[in-house]
Amino acid sequence: MTSNKIIERSITILNRLGLHARPASRFAQTASLFKSDIWLIKNGKSVDGKSILEVLTISCPSGTQLTIRAKGPDAKEAVEALEELVAKRFGEID
C-alpha cells in the first residue's frame, strides 16, 4: 500500500553559496540511492532530484525555500535523508 505514497517536505538552503556544484552533486548522489522518484520544486517549477544538471539549473542561493517530493516505496526514507543533508549544509564548511 505504501508503494505509491507521496511525501513532501519544505526545506531551506542554508549554505552560504547556495546549491552550487558540490551540494547539487551530493544531492543528486544521495537521491540516486533511493528507488522512489524524487523531485525538487521551486516556485512551482519541478526538476528531477536525481539529475545533477537539473538540480544545478534551478539555481538556489542561500535562503531559497524548496519542496522535496518523493513518490515510491522508500519515499519517506528518501525525503528524510535529503532533508538531513540540506540541514547539515551538505557537510560543507562555508
Binding site: T12, L14, L17, G18, H20, A21, R22, A24, S25, R26, A28, Q29, D48, K50, S51, I52, L53, E54, L56, T57, S59, P61, S62, G63, Q65, I93, D94
Partner: protein, 591 residues
C-alpha cells in the same frame, strides 16, 4: 616580445620554456544509421562512457592526500556522465532519430546548453564547462583517440599552454614538470583555476589566442599576479621579472614567518591589529594571519540563514565556541546590525522608502525586545568563558545608549537570579558611524568603555552617498576632508575621556590609509584577516611622529582630490619597496 592579457587564476610568477598542447579538435562525424544498428550504436556509446568513468575513478583513487578534498569535482563529473540528460538522452536520440552516438551526444549537449543559458547565476552557468569536458572525453573515447592529457613528452620544467584544461588534466600536471599554465578559456572560478590554486601552480586563464601566438620551446613569462603573459620577452623584461619573482618568493616567506610580529612603529607606538569575522570556520585563518583578537564579530549570519529566529541556546553555543577558541584573545561582538526586512523569519515586513535610514540595527533591537534580549542573554552568558566585549551598532545619541544600558542591567539581574555565570564588568562600546554620534562623541565617551569607528557607514552617511548607486559612487571618498575631520573628532573625544578608539571599516585594511590612521592616533584597527600581515608590515615601517606631522598637513587641505594626491605621494616616498608587495596582495593572494 608580445604581451597578452588574461585573468590571474592562481598567484605566482613563472618563467620558462613553453610546452604547447595542441588541442586536436575532435571533429564530429554525423551519420545516419539503420534500424538494425541501433543496439550496436548504443553499446558503443555505453562502453565509451564506462571507459571514461573508470578513468575518472582511477584518478580519484590516485589523488594524493593533500588534494583529496578535490575528488568531489571528479565525482560530479562522473555524475554528469551518468546524468539522464547526457546518458539516457543520448541513448534515446540514437534510437529515435537513428543517428550515430557522436551526433546524438552533440544534440544532447546543445539541449543542456540551452537549459543552462537560462540560469542567472554566473557561477552555475560556468559549470557548463565541466559538462563540456566530460562530453569531449566521451567523444574522444568514441573515436578511439587518447582521452588523457599527454604530458609524456614534457621532460623538462616548462609552462603548459593550452586552449583549455579540464580539472582532470590539471591534476595530471602535478606529477610533471609544470611550472605553470596558460589557457585561452576558463575563468577565475572555474574548477581548473580552483585546483591550480590548491596545487600551488601559477596560472593565467582567459588569454585569447595564446595557442596561436607562441611555439613550444619559446620563452614565456607568466605573471599570475597581474594576469599577464609575455611571449619571447626581451633581455630587460626578463631581468625585471627575474627580480620580481625573487621578491615575490621572499615576500611570501616573510608573510608566513612574520605575521606574528607585533604591529609597532619604528618609534615604538604599539597599535592593536585585529580581525573582522563572521563565521566560526574563519578562526584558524584569523590566528594564522597574526590577529590579536577579533575587533568585529558580526552576528547577522544566524539570523539571515534560519527560518525561525535563532534561540538563545543556539546563539550561546556559537558565541561560547568563538570565545573559547580565541582565548586568550579578546573578541568584540557586535549586536544584530540589519533591518527587519533582512531577517529570514521576517518579524517586521514594512517596506521602507529608505532602508539605510530606516528601522535597523539598534533601532530594530530596541523595538523588538524579545529578539534583543535573547541575543544579549546569549552574549552575557558566553562572556563567562573568555574576554568578550559588547559593541552596539548605529547609536546616534545618548538616549539610545541609556535605554540599552538599562536593558543590559535588567538582563544581568535576571541572569544572576537564574544562577547563570557572566562577566559583570563586560566592556561596552558603540560603533561610531552616524554623524551625530561623532558630534556628541564627548557625551557618549563618558558612557562607554570604547569606540569603534565604522568607516563604511560613516562615510555613506556623512557624504550622503549610496555606494551601490553608480551615479554617485565616484563621490564616495574616504579621504574627503569632512570624513577625516569626523574620524579625528571621534578619536580626540574618546581619548579625552580616557577610552580607546578603534576602527573596523574597510579603511583600516588599506595600506595607503595606515599612515593617516596612525597620525590621527587610533588605538586599534580591525580588518579582513587576509590583510593583517601587510598592514602590520606597513605599521612596522612607519614612524608615528612623521604621521602626526603628515596628518596636520592633510587637515589643512581643502579638497578630497588634494588630500588623495598628498596621501599617495607620502606613501610612495616613505614605503617605496612595499608598493610592489601590495600589488601582490591585491590579486587576493592567500597563504
Amino acid at each position: 616580445m608580445e604581451i597578452l592579457k588574461g585573468i590571474a587564476a592562481s598567484p605566482g610568477i613563472a618563467i620558462g620554456e613553453i610546452f604547447l598542447l595542441n588541442a586536436k579538435k575532435i571533429k564530429t562525424v554525423k551519420r545516419k544509421i539503420d534500424k538494425n544498428s541501433i543496439k550496436g550504436e548504443q553499446e558503443r556509446f555505453k562502453s565509451a562512457v564506462s571507459r571514461i568513468e573508470k578513468q575518472l575513478k582511477r584518478l580519484i583513487d590516485e589523488l594524493p592526500k593533500e588534494i583529496k578534498e578535490h575528488s568531489s569535482i571528479l565525482q560530479s563529473h562522473i555524475l554528469m556522465l551518468r546524468d539522464k540528460m547526457v546518458y539516457d538522452r543520448t541513448l534515446e536520440l540514437i534510437e529515435d532519430e537513428t543517428i550515430n552516438a557522436e551526433w546524438a551526444l552533440d544534440k544532447a549537449m546543445s539541449q543542456i546548453k540551452a537549459l543552462f543559458a537560462t540560469v542567472k547565476d554566473a557561477y552555475i552557468r560556468e559549470r557548463l564547462e565541466d559538462i563540456s569536458f566530460v562530453i569531449n572525453k566521451v567523444k574522444a573515447a568514441l573515436t578511439g583517440a587518447e582521452t588523457r592529457l599527454d604530458l609524456s613528452s614534457l621532460k623538462r620544467p616548462a609552462i603548459v599552454v593550452a586552449n583549455n584544461l579540464s580539472p582532470a588534466d590539471t591534476l595530471h600536471m602535478r606529477k610533471e614538470n609544470c611550472l605553470g599554465f596558460v589557457t585561452e578559456l576558463g575563468s577565475r572560478t572555474s574548477h581548473t583555476a580552483i585546483l591550480a590554486k590548491s596545487l600551488g601552480i601559477p596560472a593565467v586563464v582567459g588569454v585569447e589566442n595564446i595557442t596561436s601566438s607562441c611555439l613550444s620551446g619559446e620563452t614565456l613569462i607568466l605573471d599570475a599576479l597581474k594576469g599577464k603573459v609575455i611571449v619571447e620577452p626581451d633581455e630587460e623584461t626578463l631581468k625585471t621579472y627575474e627580480a620580481k619573482q625573487k621578491n615575490y618568493i621572499k615576500y611570501r616567506l616573510e608573510v608566513i614567518s612574520n605575521s606574528n610580529l607585533p604591529a609597532e612603529t619604528k618609534d615604538g607606538y604599539r597599535i592593536k591589529v585585529k580581525a573582522n569575522m563572521e563565521l566560526v570556520e574563519e578562526i584558524p585563518i584569523i590566528i594564522q594571519h597574526g590577529a590579536e583578537g577579533v575587533g568585529l564579530f558580526r552576528t547577522e549570519f544566524l539570523y539571515i540563514t534560519s527560518k525561525a529566529l535563532p534561540t538563545e541556546e543556539e546563539l550561546f553555543k556559537t558565541y561560547k565556541e568563538v570565545v573559547e577558541r580565541l582565548r586568550p584573545y579578546p573578541v568584540t561582538i557586535r549586536t544584530l546590525d540589519i533591518g527587519g526586512d533582512k531577517l529570514a523569519s521576517g518579524i517586521c515586513h514594512e517596506n521602507e522608502m529608505n532602508p539605510a535610514l530606516g528601522l535597523r540595527a539598534i533601532r530594530l533591537c530596541l523595538r523588538e525586545q524579545g529578539l534583543f534580549r535573547a541575543q544579549l542573554r546569549a552574549i552575557l552568558r558566553a562572556s563567562a568563558y573568555g574576554d568578550l566585549r559588547l559593541l552596539f551598532p548605529m547609536v546616534s545619541g545618548k538616549t539610545e545608549l541609556v535605554e540599552v544600558k538599562a536593558l543590559l542591567r535588567d538582563i544581568m539581574d535576571e541572569l544572576e537570579r537564574e544562577g547563570h555565570g557572566f562577566n559583570k564588568d563586560i566592556k561596552i562600546g558603540i560603533m561610531i558611524e552616524v554623524p551625530s554620534a561623532v558630534l556628541v562623541a564627548d557625551i557618549l565617551a563618558r558612557e562607554v568603555d570604547f569606540f569603534s569607528i565604522g568607516t563604511n557607514d560613516l562615510i555613506q552617511y556623512s557624504l550622503a552617498i549610496d555606494r551601490i548607486n553608480e551615479a554617485v559612487s565616484h563621490l564616495y571618498e574616504p579621504l574627503h576632508p569632512g570624513v577625516l575631520k569626523m574620524i579625528k573628532l571621534a578619536v580626540d573625544a574618546g581619548h579625552k575621556a580616557g577610552i580607546e578608539v578603534g576602527m573596523c571599516g574597510e579603511m583600516a585594511g588599506e595600506p595607503i590609509y595606515i599612515p593617516i590612521l596612525l597620525g590621527i592616533g587610533l588605538d586599534e584597527l580591525s580588518m579582513n584577516a587576509m590583510a593583517i600581515p601587510k598592514i602590520k608590515k606597513v605599521i612596522r615601517l612607519s614612524q608615528q611622529e612623521d604621521c602626526f606631522q603628515f596628518v596636520s598637513e592633510l587637515l589643512s587641505l581643502d579638497s578630497a582630490k588634494l588630500v588623495r594626491e598628498k596621501a599617495l605621494t607620502f606613501f610612495r616616498d616613505n614605503y617605496p619597496q612595499d608598493m610592489e608587495t601590495i600589488d601582490f596582495m591585491e590579486v587576493g593572494l592567500s597563504i
